[in-house]
């Protein structure tokens, strides 16, 4: 079975979800958020099926093709979102996250999913890439929630009775969800780094080679270790914690862009 049909339905379902969440932002009707949530859930399932079918058809190397990477990115962003938002009634964050998932799945439908070269991926390689995407998705979600927090805090202070004021549960809850997202992200990134090192040893015979991607990831890892430390022991709470998360997002984006520019011949460029 071809993954294409599932990719299209994923893009459509995520699109429907995005639309309803945006309408929810305007009209504030809970029904809209419910539709948004269920289409995101169904989209998540088709997304997962599409990814599995792609791997079955083109091999695990296809995770390193543009199609595979975008599908994986979409599925991990949505899984992080579904995990945290349904647990804490943060439907509002869907309006900020689902557009990205829609974009990723849409791009995935356009780009190639055929690996150009065959290289051994194995279980270790799979763990490496999946946990990397999950980790970055959790960081991105934490940064998005930080933006929500800052808006919410501002409206609470300025007495602006906006949709954020009405629909978000509480500052302290959002803060603790951000922290959890960052902790989850940090866990996955750590796993990903170890798996990456082991995998590197298998292919190149060395755990560490000062490759730009390795260096950039190590920097991100230290940045997030610092953020968690400041939160737990340095009393960097509330707005300051949110600013730290935005800084973290900035570092991750640099990491992505930088690696794409610097190591264009590497598996990390996702060119297949």
């Amino acid at each position: 079975m071809s993954p294409e049909a599932f990719i299209y339905s994923t893009a459509v379902l995520y699109g429907i979800s995005t639309l309803h969440y945006l309408l929810y932002l305007i009209f504030r009707k809970e029904k809209l958020a419910t539709v948004g949530l269920y289409s995101a859930r169904f989209g998540f399932l088709t997304n997962l099926v599409a990814l599995i079918l792609l791997v079955v058809r083109n091999g695990s190397e296809s995770l390193f093709t543009p199609k595979g990477a975008f599908l994986l990115f979409a599925v991990s962003v949505v899984s992080i979102y579904l995990y945290f938002s349904t647990k804490h009634k943060l439907s509002l964050s869907g309006a900020f996250l689902m557009p990205w998932a829609t974009l990723f799945s849409f791009v995935a439908s356009l780009v190639s999913g055929v690996p150009k070269t065959a290289f051994p991926v194995g279980i270790v390689g799979m763990v490496h890439i999946v946990s990397a995407f999950l980790g970055y998705s959790a960081f991105i979600f934490g940064a998005l929630l930080s933006i929500l927090y800052l808006i919410f805090e501002n409206h609470l202070k300025k007495k602006k009775f906006s949709v954020f004021f009405q629909k978000l549960p509480s500052l302290s809850l959002i803060e603790s969800v951000i922290y959890h997202a960052v902790a989850v992200g940090f866990f996955f990134i750590t796993v990903s780094m170890f798996a990456g090192a082991v995998w590197s040893e298998k292919i190149f015979g060395t755990y560490w080679s000062w490759h730009p991607k390795q260096v950039a990831t190590l920097i991100s890892w230290f940045v997030y270790a610092g953020i968690i430390h400041l939160y737990l022991y340095g009393e960097w709470r509330g707005k300051r914690f949110c600013y730290l998360n935005l800084l973290g997002l900035f570092v991750i984006v640099l990491n992505f862009l930088g690696v794409n520019l610097l190591s264009s011949k590497d598996v990390h460029s996702f060119k297949g």
Binding site: L156, F161, F165, P169, L171, L173
Partner: protein, 424 residues
């Protein structure tokens, strides 16, 4: 005899001032005797009275062509009112409108403060009194049960009664927006006042753990502290209290600011910048508004709280629209049931008639055939099946037609004539 109608004759805060409402209200003993008298009216079949401070409504079923006449006469007799008064203040609703109105009332959509929960209890009381006195039967019983079911669904599925619509509850809601759970949070009340004390009570019931009472006169502080089970402090120890409190409610009669950057900022620093919620219920204000500009301080004065309330009322009205959609489905189903109920005796009569014909014919003819008991049983079954199959179509058709608004009466009439049923 006409068809059964469910009617509502009522007056509410929307149509009449309190002076009129109180004139028509029924309380205690009076309500019971009124209900019994009402039910004794020749045209009224079932009846119930909902009498609260915001509304007096009589729900009843009747087959009269002038459904409201007797009930209005009764009101005039009972309350010494004149017809003009009733004509100008009372609304009369029949069938679908009456059912819808009743569901709106029970779901608190028609209340003065939309979504307030008291009306559900009052509706239940009216229902159980009518049940106790035996003034309601199948129709109104089902009506009340459905109304209560609808009300519960509206409450759980819409945000109609979620947001605070009083100043003191708005304070609790805001505290939750800042702190999340209020468990373990400490509240300080400076001065005294009804609204401030009410807010403290609400905060306590929502989980706040400790109360500090500060007052210029220490005795008053002690008295209030005793009431809340908290600790009393003289005004001189204000700074100590500020260091411990997460939520401060100020309501003193002081002419100037009681909380200023001078005494709040050191406390904030001591708290390691954990947020503080400052509520100013005093006029003139107690809390320097400039404090709101500091990180971690949220200052709300009485106007801000009123704004929260206003925004929440708007939100409730929005949710009421959702509730109306839910209710419409129930109105539709109830009316369908009511119409089908009307033809139920007709259908029963038809079945009875068919059965008696069957029995008559069988008892005459069957013995002549000289069949074995098994064969006789088989013939009995066959004739039953024929009758069931034959009657199935007319019965479902008349049920369906009975629900339709137009031509309902003709269809029922024709049905009667064709099958020779129910001589009226």
């Amino acid at each position: 005899m006409g068809e059964l109608k469910l009617c509502c004759l009522g007056v509410s805060h929307k149509t009449a001032p309190v002076s009129v409402r109180e004139q028509f209200s029924f309380k205690g003993e009076e309500l019971e005797s009124a209900l019994l008298k009402l039910n004794a009216l020749p045209s009224v079949e079932e009846s119930m009275v909902l009498s609260t401070c915001n509304r007096v409504e009589i729900y009843f079923t009747t087959r009269s062509e002038t459904p409201f006449k007797e009930v209005i006469d009764f009101l005039i007799d009972e309350k010494g009112a004149d017809l003009d008064q009733i004509n100008s203040h009372f609304y009369r609703k029949v069938d679908r409108d009456a059912v819808r109105h009743g569901f709106y009332v029970a779901s608190s959509l028609d209340s003065m403060v939309v979504g307030e929960p008291q009306i559900v209890g009052q509706f239940k009381d009216a229902f159980s009194l009518a049940k106790e006195l035996g003034t309601i039967g199948t129709v109104l019983c089902r009506f009340c049960e459905t109304a209560l079911k609808v009300s519960k669904r509206v409450r759980t599925e819409t945000g109609i009664s979620k947001n605070a619509v009083s100043i003191s509850f708005a304070a609790v809601e805001l505290a939750k927006k800042i702190f999340g759970e209020l468990h373990g949070k400490r509240v300080a009340i400076i001065g005294a006042g009804e609204m401030a004390e009410l807010a403290v009570k609400h905060l306590m019931t929502n989980g706040a753990s400790e109360v500090f009472v500060v007052n210029r006169t220490f005795e008053r502080a002690q008295k209030l502290a005793q009431e809340f089970g908290g600790k009393a402090f003289p005004l001189t120890e204000l700074e100590t209290v500020l260091k411990m409190a997460d939520i401060v409610i100020s309501s003193t009669g002081a002419p100037g600011y009681v909380l200023t950057p001078e005494n709040v900022l050191p406390a904030l620093k001591e708290r390691k910048h954990r947020p503080m919620f400052l509520i100013d219920i005093a006029v003139p204000r107690d809390i320097d508004p400039a404090l709101n500009d500091y990180e971690g301080l949220y200052v709300y004065d009485i106007d801000d709280l009123q704004q929260v309330v206003d925004a929440n009322i708007k939100e409730r009205l929005r949710e009421a629209e959702v509730a109306k959609e839910i209710i419409e489905g129930y109105v539709e189903r109830f009316m369908k049931w009511l119409r089908e109920l009307e033809v139920a005796p007709l259908i029963a009569e038809l079945k009875e008639k068919a059965e008696s014909i069957r029995k008559e014919v069988l008892s005459k003819r069957l013995p002549k055939l000289g069949l074995t008991p098994e064969q006789e049983q088989e013939v009995d079954n066959i004739t039953r099946i024929i009758i069931n199959k034959l009657l199935h179509q007319p019965i479902t058709s008349v049920k369906r037609k009975a629900v339709e608004e137009e031509a309902r009466n003709q269809v029922v009439q024709i049905f009667r004539e064709i099958f020779g049923l129910g001589k009226e």
